[in-house]
């Protein structure tokens, strides 16, 4: 028995090494659109929010202007609206020793509303992916790989690797770069699809007291470590109209929160004529860079 167990343990050393080493080599920004966000160390300056922030705020530009290393810890509308799972995850990602950090919180009606059923309960099942992660600062992050049934070791085989025409790439600083070959026709098509999808699935959203509570908690938490900025990223006119239907008093609410916590609120929603999106909802790559530049200037001035 002893012999069997010892031999088995010796035998498994090589596969275990293989499992640990291959993610370090192959799990890059093309491997998965979340993985790299869980592999860095704890962070001092964060960009938070949903996919608008993930694509629309570029940490490297913030770093150039503000001379601080930023990390974009934004996910998607489903995974990271403000709430308990995201709050706990931020808590794990945040370097507790930080004193003068900068925290950019992207806010929009989707981040503080929920599809609330007739019995008053909120559907939070999609957020569990973020909330369940025990380790968010581990490289390689075997927990994420296992939970999401990913297998970076398969990338040793060249034919399994992502195609070169893949348009999305997650940077190590958390920015999700979308290399979109933008054309007016394609934009029109995407906008139409996005509006249809949102009208079908998102227009029943109601203001969620829980989400408001956790947005406030997040602000309060981050204020202990530095300055917090609330930002409403510009989107297309059509999407803005849809948002105004869902939550007409959103800006009033944000202004109240900004006053309550004494944090600046940059409402850029009316800047839509100046910025191009890919689908009405996410800033087009060059415009994301321009917007981050402008945002950096605003933050620099307000400091």
């Amino acid at each position: 028995m002893k012999k069997y167990i010892i031999q088995f343990l010796i035998f498994t050393i090589l596969p275990v090494c293989f499992i640990i080493v291959t993610p370090l080599i192959y799990a890059d920004g093309n491997f998965d659109y979340y993985y790299l966000r869980f592999t860095t160390s704890k962070q001092k300056n964060l960009v938070l929010g949903n996919s608008r922030a993930a694509q629309g705020i570029v940490p490297s530009i913030l770093e150039n202007k503000l001379h601080k290393k930023f990390f974009n810890y934004s996910f998607t509308l489903n995974h990271s609206p403000y709430g308990r799972p995201y709050y706990l995850s931020i808590l794990k990602k945040l370097d507790p020793k930080t004193k003068n950090g900068i925290y950019i919180l992207s806010v929009d009606p989707f981040g503080i509303t929920s599809n609330i059923s007739s019995d008053g309960s909120e559907n939070l099942s999609t957020e569990i992916m973020i909330g369940k992660m025990i380790f968010v600062n581990m490289n390689p992050n075997i927990e994420f790989i296992m939970r999401n049934k990913l297998a970076p070791w398969q990338y040793i085989w060249p034919l399994n690797r992502p195609k070169s025409d893949q348009i999305a790439h997650l940077h190590k600083d958390g920015w999700l770069q979308i290399d979109y070959p933008w054309t007016p026709e394609r934009y029109k098509h995407n906008l139409h699809n996005k509006l249809d999808e949102y009208k079908k699935n998102q227009t029943n959203r109601k203001l969620s007291p829980t989400r408001i509570e956790y947005l406030k908690k997040t602000i309060a938490l981050l204020q202990k470590h530095g300055k917090v900025y609330l930002v409403r990223i510009p989107i297309s006119k059509e999407m803005l109209e849809l948002e105004n239907q869902i939550l007409p008093d959103f800006n009033v609410l944000m202004t109240e929160i900004s006053k309550e916590y004494k944090v600046p609120y940059f409402n850029c929603s009316m800047d839509y004529p100046n910025y191009q999106t890919t689908d009405g909802n996410h800033l087009y790559k060059p415009d994301a860079k321009r917007f981050t530049n402008a945002l950096s200037d605003s933050i620099a001035i307000s400091k």
Binding site: M1, Y4, F8, F11, P15, K149, Q154
Partner: protein, 489 residues
Amino acid sequence: MLFNSYEFAIYLPIVFFCYWFVFQRNLKLQNFFILFVSYIFYGWWDWKFLLLIALTSICSWGSGVLVQHYDKEEPGRFNKRKWITAANLILNLGILGFFKYYNFFVVNFIDLFASMGITLEASSLRIILPVGISFYTFQALSYTIDVYRRDIVATKDLVSFLAYVSFFPQLVAGPIERATNLLPQFYKPRTFNYSDAVDGGRQILWGFFKKIVIADNCALVANLVFGNSDNMPGSALIIGAICFAFQIYGDFSGYSDIAIGTGRLFGIKLMRNFNFPYFSRDIAEFWRRWHISLTTWFRDYIYIPLGGSRVSKSKVIRNTLIIFLVSGLWHGANWTFVIWGTFHALLFLPLVIFDRNRKNTNIVAENRFLPTFRELFQMGSTFILVTISWILFRANNLKHAFYYIKGIFSSTIFRDPFCVELIHNKAIVLVGSISILIIVEWLQRKKQHGLEITGIIKYRWIRILIYYTILFMIAVFGAKQATFIYFQF
């Protein structure tokens, strides 16, 4: 819990350690531990399923005890043994029938009346089929029948019996064990056998190769082709059917290998379930080599009681048709399975009628390295027939199966199948891995499993290299974790 899951990778070593190091000294505790971990394994899908397996097991155990109690009773007008056995059979088959066939019969009943112009309204229930219900029900039934026939003495040890029905390696997809083989193994202390455990480990590894590399990759192509068969050229339909043939073999025999290998780690010998069936030279041989535990179950509990082959030809034909029909229905409530069973019966019947069904009982090319052309032709033609039958098995309905087969024999049969991108992308992996499977299993056709290599490969380092190569292939070429096909049965 799936064998090919991270949960099982954690579960198995813990169970192994506790089984041998904590509970080995006390047989009753060890059996109780087996029962406990088996219920955890099964309850991982849905704890509510546990109620059903517990009910089936306890009723079968109780009926066994009662039948044994009335063993000395003289046959009279009211034979208690018979009635108790019948009651238990009705209960078990009733549960199975309800969960598996209720909707099928309701829908067909309504359709039948609708065709006569009578509209019936009956709501079909949303019944979730408990995983592996056909497997453990048949296992419990075999015990009940064996006790009644006095082939086995009923056990009073409830824990051992529950462990026998729920023993986790074979609980959800077999082999369907007989009480005569498995139950006595729970009565006596198990001892750890090093060489058996090592070979069990090899068998598990080979099972994972078959499941993750062969079956799961084939499944990608088979699912795509069967799901879009209307738009596929005939050549792609052929590849889809062949992929499904290897998918179902890799999936099911892979599961059996993992189950048997896992059993051996715990000192428990499970029966063989597959014996390299794609090397069969005729359909009769195929059925002696495919899903052996189910085939022999039907043989022992249906075919032989009906008279088997020692009756008139007309009755032999009837008996053969019955077991294939039941076999089809066992797989599920769908006409495709019924026709699949009938198709096999029609292939089998000529062999029975002309007494040629036991012609190929030896191992193919027994003392030769390669088969003769005749054997190659026989194996090839049997494989083609079996693959055609798999189209019936895999299709969503009979119409789908018909158009699938019709599509194969269209003018598009000569079109380049690589126009289907997935087939093009997977070609190297599929051809390579299936070739490895065929070569290894051909070389090992006299053995219990593909990786039984101790006596063949003398040097340990070569054996270790083989294990690592297989592990590497599983890691690099394995498709994403998918459930096992036979869980639905």
